[in-house]
């Protein structure tokens, strides 16, 4: 059976959860229920459905957006935090859809950083572009990102002139965004392109700049190199004809991308990145020949539309292989947003609690930053190193600096914290009521069922019976007989308003959930 054969079985709660965890940020019980019993096609229909564009971020103190301002506001340094909160909010509250995860995939792929671009309006526009094309056409996206105002700033495409070409974008376009760099087979020859191709591509891309009033790209013919551009044998010695018209910049960009996308290496490169983002880091020769190469062909056969590739990859028997489930380490946003969703924490309402809504996600933002996944602030042009840096890959997310704060997250969410409305000074507690949470599972009075149900809810892989036993006897009920739980639970249910009884049993349950969230098993997905 080939690895990309369609997964034949109906989704169970476990396989539905695997699909949801990988394509979204954690899985809620409602989403798992919705996909359980569905065929893989039906599940992917739901996940791959086009979504309407979300409303733009606003300043929660005024309720107004700034994204269409014609002048950068002096509050821009605050707006970037609102925009980060806005995106984390979209991740946490989206319906069943791969859109936000794919938008994050493209954000990692076409990296950017506020510290370089320096204008939140630009980054908003880029985020809209990525989301609009998240499930669209790779070649279209590559074209639009090449003249995206934020990208023009980030990689200095706006400073690339015929008199002194600036090769920053031309290099990364090839090395990281499209064809990918192969082995250096001789000086300056990276198999898929050469150093000379970098310089030549830079010439084809001369003349673009950005307009900070309209936040758009502008082409200046008088800064454009109108001579022909001759590429190396890696590109079959292609010549891009130099143009001298108002559309020269776009025409030559299209020619350049046509040349790059003609190479099979380009479609295979992006499929390898999708594989590492959604499936596993390890691209063995078997994975290369049985997954990457055929996916690349699917991409080309479909004129670079992304959906058919995602459908084939996420709907494959390989994706549901026992060795794939749990093979990834949760990226910080998988961990943080996933935790919020798994715990069904009540998020302030965006309509009538706007300030608290923003304040809630603004308080999650520094956690993501500490764990090294700060959106709109990629560490460098290659994106987060967990997706490319051999040999550790996802293990880079976890080290002695990040593991202690990761392990503390459960504690933070269970203990809750206070949100403040900056404008009015009003406060609001966000909490997690483990007792309410537990009641949605059957048999909350049975301690073994409690362990079973919570284990299933929180972990990507099953724990062994010894591990469950330890959770029961050492964490939930240390030095107590198992029936103690049943007695206390029934007591509490009889008098749910008895604060003392409630506190007693809640402390036990909180301790169990905190422990579950700090063990290594919780870190994988």
């Amino acid at each position: 059976m080939a690895l990309l054969d369609k997964y034949p079985a109906t989704l169970t709660a476990k396989t539905a959860e695997h699909l949801l965890r990988r394509t979204m940020f954690g899985a809620t019980r409602a989403d798992i229920t919705a996909l359980t019993g569905k065929s893989i096609d039906a599940a992917l229909d739901a996940l791959l459905k086009d979504q309407t564009a979300p409303a733009p971020p606003v300043d929660p103190t005024t309720g107004q957006t700034w994204v269409n301002d014609t002048v950068q506001s002096s509050n821009d340094g605050q707006y970037i935090n609102y925009m980060k909160a806005w995106w984390l909010g979209l991740m946490a509250t989206q319906p069943i859809s791969i859109t936000e995860k794919m938008t994050l995939f493209w954000h990692n792929h076409f990296a950017s950083a506020r510290s370089v671009v320096n204008d939140t309006r630009y980054l908003y526009k880029q985020n809209v572009l990525l989301r609009k094309n998240a499930l669209g056409n790779f070649k279209t996206l590559a074209r639009e990102i090449s003249i995206d105002p934020a990208m023009l700033r980030y990689l200095n495409g706006n400073r690339n002139t015929k008199a002194s070409p600036q090769e920053n974008y031309a290099r990364e376009l090839q090395e990281l965004f499209t064809i990918g760099k192969g082995p250096e087979i001789s000086a300056g020859n990276y198999t898929t392109y050469t150093e000379q191709d970098v310089r030549t591509a830079a010439r084809a891309l001369t003349g673009w700049t950005d307009n900070a009033t309209t936040v758009t790209a502008v082409f200046n013919l008088n800064q454009h190199d109108t001579a022909d551009k001759q590429f190396s044998a890696a590109y079959q010695n292609t010549i891009i004809k130099g143009r001298n018209t108002a559309t020269a910049g776009m025409d030559e960009l299209n020619d350049l991308l046509d040349m790059i996308f003609r190479q099979n290496a380009t479609s295979e490169y992006i499929c390898r990145k999708l594989y590492r983002f959604f499936v596993n880091f390890e691209v063995t020769p078997t994975i290369e020949s049985e997954v990457i190469v055929p996916l690349g062909k699917t991409l080309r056969d479909n004129n670079f539309e992304i959906k058919p590739v995602l459908r084939q990859l996420l709907g494959s028997t390989h994706f549901f292989d026992n060795n794939i489930i749990g093979a990834m380490i949760k990226a910080p946003l998988d961990l943080i947003i996933g935790m919020v969703r798994q715990m069904q924490i009540t998020i302030p309402n965006i309509t009538n609690q706007l300030a608290f809504y923003y304040s809630y996600f603004d308080s999650l933002r520094p956690l993501a930053t500490t764990l090294q996944q700060d959106v709109f602030e990629l560490p460098n042009v290659a994106g987060w190193s967990a997706y490319y840096q051999e040999p550790l890959y996802y293990q880079i997310w976890i080290n002695s600096a990040t593991m202690p704060p990761r392990a503390n997250l459960g504690n933070t969410l269970i203990n809750g914290w206070t949100l403040t409305n900056r404008a009015t000074g009003a406060t609001m507690r966000v909490t997690f009521d483990s007792l309410v949470f537990l009641q949605q599972f059957p048999n909350p009075e049975d301690p073994n069922k409690v362990i079973d149900n919570l284990t299933q809810n929180f972990f990507a892989i099953d724990l062994t019976s010894e591990q469950k036993d330890e959770l029961l006897t050492k964490v939930l009920l240390p030095n107590l007989p198992a029936y103690e739980w049943t007695v206390e639970w029934n007591d509490y249910m009889k008098t749910p308003n008895d604060a003392q009884k409630k506190a007693l049993i809640k402390a036990k349950l909180d301790a169990l959930i905190k422990y579950m969230m700090l063990i290594a098993e919780y870190q994988i997905t």
């Binding site: 300056g188 794939i324 840096q389 202690p404 392990a407 990507a460 290594a520």
Partner: protein, 525 residues
């Protein structure tokens, strides 16, 4: 006396002939002094690696004052005014913002190694960073770092049997939340942290006991890794906190939060003074990818690059002063590295694109201060890039042997080839000593005819297999041509075309791994 086996049989592949075109000071150690250095090597010698991430513009860091007209014409929009450059010698100076490092140089605590890169340099940030960190050839892919391999060799069976009485402390510490390849051995050999106090506080709240079983799947491998990180964090958090708390910085650093490198080095100094036996520290200063506006348009001595170099200089100077006051300065050696230098000619946006060779700084009380190598030629270029003068692994080799006193077998666990050492540490030989040594080794070189018209022949006998460089230097000290290749023992006659040389006096030098010899010739037509 132990005799060094410089060439390890099969690994001695023939190097391609390259014309690197630079003069070079004699290098290498006399066998006697080398073994003395080895004898005095002690366990309490520490190394601090400073990564300048992004690719530092070497030519605006160490300015070739002997080529100012070329310099000014190739980079007029970023050129530093000659009268502002901090002169180290008549021919060489530092960027105006490197006042502190100038004083380190004057005190003999700073060595500048010119023109460092590797053959067939790669212009990708990511690949070139991997090459530098792993210590590989351009076409060799290693999944471990050079310092990681050194630590793996020195501390076998890490982490299983550590900490122990002889090594109670972390082997390496990186002040960052993203582990670097350079410290990766068979496992990551270092502890990552941002702040010793917070590290201990967080770790103490997340202690995990129990779970040891793992499934035999990819998920199981991740779980094992995560548990290892948890255990290592817990084991070392206390010793790190204790060391940090027991020491105070005695020198003044830039105010916290302003200069990230100073913040990191202040922690390193405390940990060293606090008594940690940690062998290697790693810190990073980012932002060197100066494609765009690396200088202020009207005053080239200020701007992005000036700020970065000021940070480097201030942090290094405070650190060195701190160590001196702590009386630890004879135990610590530091070195900077960056993935590449930048293009000689600037681009149109007052910046520089990716280049190749650049200077490396080695600092510390034990350092043999001075400049190693000649100014790079700004005219004799490889496709616009500086030519290699020294392989970066010559510096690693020198540190391993002269600083850490590794034996031959220990050395070969780190670097698979021999690299000619540079006299970086005091106690390595002076030029005069080397000359004497080489006289004893019996190397002679001569040329005929002399005076020379249009060609001459160099003759020499090589008593051993060695990498051999033959360098011809004009009266101004510029190397005009170089032969560089691996040669077997035997007699050689090298024909040398002098038709393009101006009339005048030249010196030539034959360098081998065990000695060098020189002569003079006159070109007269």
């Amino acid at each position: 006396m132990k005799r060094r086996d410089f060439i390890r049989g099969a690994t001695a592949v023939a190097l391609p002939l390259s014309l690197s075109g630079y003069s070079a000071r004699a290098m290498g150690l006399s066998p006697m002094l080398e073994s003395l250095a080895e004898l005095t090597a002690q366990a309490d010698r520490y190394l601090v690696l400073i990564q300048l991430a992004g690719g530092n513009d070497g030519i605006n860091t160490v300015i070739p004052l002997d080529q100012m007209s070329t310099y000014n014409s190739l980079r007029s929009n970023i050129a530093l005014p000659e009268n502002k450059v901090l002169k180290l010698t008549n021919a060489t100076g530092l960027h105006p913002s490197m006042v502190g490092m100038k004083s380190l140089y004057d005190a003999g605590n700073l060595a500048v190694v010119q023109g460092v890169t590797y053959p067939t340099s790669n212009f990708s940030h990511f690949r070139s960073t991997d090459v530098w960190m792993s210590g590989s050839d351009y076409n060799e892919y290693l999944s471990t770092g050079w310092a990681g391999r050194y630590l793996d060799n020195q501390f076998p069976n890490y982490p299983g049997s550590y900490p122990n009485a002889s090594m109670p402390d972390p082997l390496a510490i990186q002040i960052s939340s993203t582990p670097a390849l350079v410290l990766k051995g068979s496992v990551p050999m270092g502890i990552n942290l941002q702040d010793p106090e917070a590290f201990n506080r967080l770790v103490s709240g997340t202690s995990v006991n129990g779970f040891t079983t793992t499934p035999d799947t990819a998920a199981g491998k991740q779980i094992t890794y995560i548990r290892q990180v948890q255990a290592q964090s817990e084991v070392y958090a206390k010793v790190i906190q204790k060391a940090n708390a027991s020491a105070k910085n005695l020198a003044t650093y830039t105010a916290a939060g302003v200069n990230p490198l100073a913040d990191q080095l202040a922690i390193v100094a405390r940990l060293i003074a606090g008594g940690l036996k940690t062998r290697v520290y790693m810190v990073t200063l980012g932002g060197f990818d100066t494609h765009n506006q690396q200088v202020n348009a009207t005053d080239h001595t200020i701007g992005t690059h000036a700020v970065l170099l000021a940070r480097l200089s201030e942090a290094m100077t405070s650190f060195q002063q701190d160590l001196k006051l702590m009386k630890m300065d004879d135990k610590v050696l530091g070195m900077t590295f960056s993935e590449f230098g930048r293009r000689v000619g600037s681009n149109g946006s007052s910046g520089t694109d990716h280049g190749s060779a650049a200077p490396v700084f080695v600092f510390g009380k034990a350092v043999k201060g001075g400049i190693i190598g000649a100014n790079p030629s700004l005219t004799n270029l490889d496709n616009g890039n500086l030519k290699m003068q020294y392989d970066f692994r010559q510096i690693y080799a020198s540190i391993l042997k002269q600083w850490f006193g590794t034996s031959s077998s220990e050395y070969s666990a780190v670097l698979s080839k021999d690299f000619t050492q540079l006299p970086l540490i005091q106690g390595s030989t002076s030029v005069a000593e080397e000359q004497q040594t080489f006289a004893t080794n019996g190397i002679r070189v001569q040329n005929y005819p002399n005076p020379v018209s249009t060609s001459t022949t160099f003759e020499y006998t090589l008593p051993y297999t060695s990498r051999v460089r033959l360098i011809v230097v004009d009266a101004q000290g510029h190397a005009v041509t170089t032969m560089d290749e691996q040669q077997a023992a035997g007699s050689y006659s090298i024909n040398f075309n002098t038709a393009s040389l101006a009339s005048g006096a030249y010196t030539y030098r034959l360098e081998t791994e065990r000695g060098w010899a020189s002569g003079k010739m006159i070109v007269a037509r």
